[in-house]
Symmetry: C2
Subunit: 346 residues, 2 copies
Amino acid sequence: MSVTIKDIAKQCGVGVSTVSRALNNHPDINPQTREMIMKVIRETGFVPNDSARYLKRSESNSLALLVKGISNPFFSEMIRIMEMETEKRGYSVILRHVSANEDEVAVAYSLVRERRLKGIIFLGGNFTHDGEALKKLGVPYIFSTIGNVNENTNDDDLIANIAVDDVEASREAVDYLIQQGHRNIAIVTDALHVPSVGQLRFRGYRKALEAHGIPYREELVYEVNDGTEHYTRPNGYKAARSLLSAHPEITAFFCISDVLAFGVCRAVVERGKRIPLDVSVVGFDGIEEGDYYIPKLTTVRQPVEQMAEETVNLLFDMIQKKAKPKNIIMPAQLLIKESSGTGYRG
Amino acid sequence: MSVTIKDIAKQCGVGVSTVSRALNNHPDINPQTREMIMKVIRETGFVPNDSARYLKRSESNSLALLVKGISNPFFSEMIRIMEMETEKRGYSVILRHVSANEDEVAVAYSLVRERRLKGIIFLGGNFTHDGEALKKLGVPYIFSTIGNVNENTNDDDLIANIAVDDVEASREAVDYLIQQGHRNIAIVTDALHVPSVGQLRFRGYRKALEAHGIPYREELVYEVNDGTEHYTRPNGYKAARSLLSAHPEITAFFCISDVLAFGVCRAVVERGKRIPLDVSVVGFDGIEEGDYYIPKLTTVRQPVEQMAEETVNLLFDMIQKKAKPKNIIMPAQLLIKESSGTGYRG
């Protein structure tokens, strides 16, 4: 007994023509209604007899999602939400990783030409780009979670961008460590010559030290420079091993991502030090993994769901010419959990 | 000073026409050569003046990657590798999540019609499917890491499939716990009415108990049934809280995935029990996160890189009609780390 289009219409409480519109991704259908109908279709396993009906759909209803750091779980969650939000609108996501040494705009350029994309999302990567190369893309694009792309852009030329205030959020996190009594605070960050969030979060670190009159010591800075991806647990582990053996006086680590922080924690414990009794560790991102870590990770939470949804929303508004590029800065939040506390005062 | 196609050719040590063939994804080019050239192109940020050249490329060089459990980090790693392997061959990956209550074959069917795909990879999901629905897909497809899809298939009708021997690997893991002295061993698994790896790994658990004459107790089985994804840390956490409060005699947990195991560990520790002194925890998958957990997680490792690569290899061989569907079972490996040990003997 196979399911028919009439069964679907009945179950959804709509007419057959509405189901047909949903299947054909017709513009005259409410997105929520389409989503509800497609959900029922997928759950019942309904397969239309007339497969030709699908071929009417435009084949170019695709967005590209270019991810620098695709194995970072912070991005996994964003990819999941972005894919769902895009699918709701009847579009597909073409996923493409970008290696640490690739230029993401060049990658995007070739994808646009190959696939006739409707839009591009850049997830992770650099916050400065060649304006001419961006213009050549020829389709709407948006940057997400890679810092303030518009730092040097005037209001008329804004680039679409969703981010937190990386400098301020990091300043706040390091300020908290200082208030807990820490003075020898190391930072594990991305290579500083790269214009990435690592640079911005490092600025926040320095600002906090300055505000408290704590001298900046270059030897407490570890710049990750290994592998096709920089934000990884092994890189955090290596960083903490190296920092702790050269500077056993370190009592706190500020890590510019949670995955780096997990690697740091493991190295701290293997050195026979206790977290947070001997050493405090603070991450950045606020991924779920931190809440199930032992100890739970203190971190700066980025509002991942809202950022992912707003990225897709704004991009679709731009595709439909309902909005111009905007620079949206969302609030980050310091979450004090179990991996940080009062520091050793010597 | 912008980069020209001649610069690229020079840097690669090939002729301009070879670079052009790489750009156009011409069939007469060695895939390694193409990959090397594209790498240089991306690294230099080279943008061809004649963008029309790209339009010659077929627009249908896409695979769909359907993932049931897209937020499971085990799949993140596979997605990363599969995307890279696919890109090497000049194809794009269309990524699509499948919810726990969706039929992945129905989702695939609509994608094939919408996007004119060349092939489909099913990652996660059920190991039994309606053969008629599969035939209707009309393009090559392969199942990856979802158990023995071919359990009831005769040799001539094999479905392309890459998996480990889930039953045997689980039997071995639980056998190890029994040899450590554990008798009250709980299992955290997927809903057992669903034909997923949860069912297979549960079979291995029962086999190990039987072999040692340990009575099977239904009350030590926790079936995860919550959320659009089942393999999550919160589900593991809930499972262990519930099991430990009803059955404080439990000294070991076998979890059918690592993420479930992290949730279990956290609940065990919050109950004031020590891992592994009071309670042992064993996971399944072998993701990197386990090696940076405190304690490091004992787990059954699936050879993720080889499985991902072999999935893409076999699918492309099928697309190019160089191979028929095969059932490939790869070796899994029990890795004894820090989260398991000699059990409490009462």
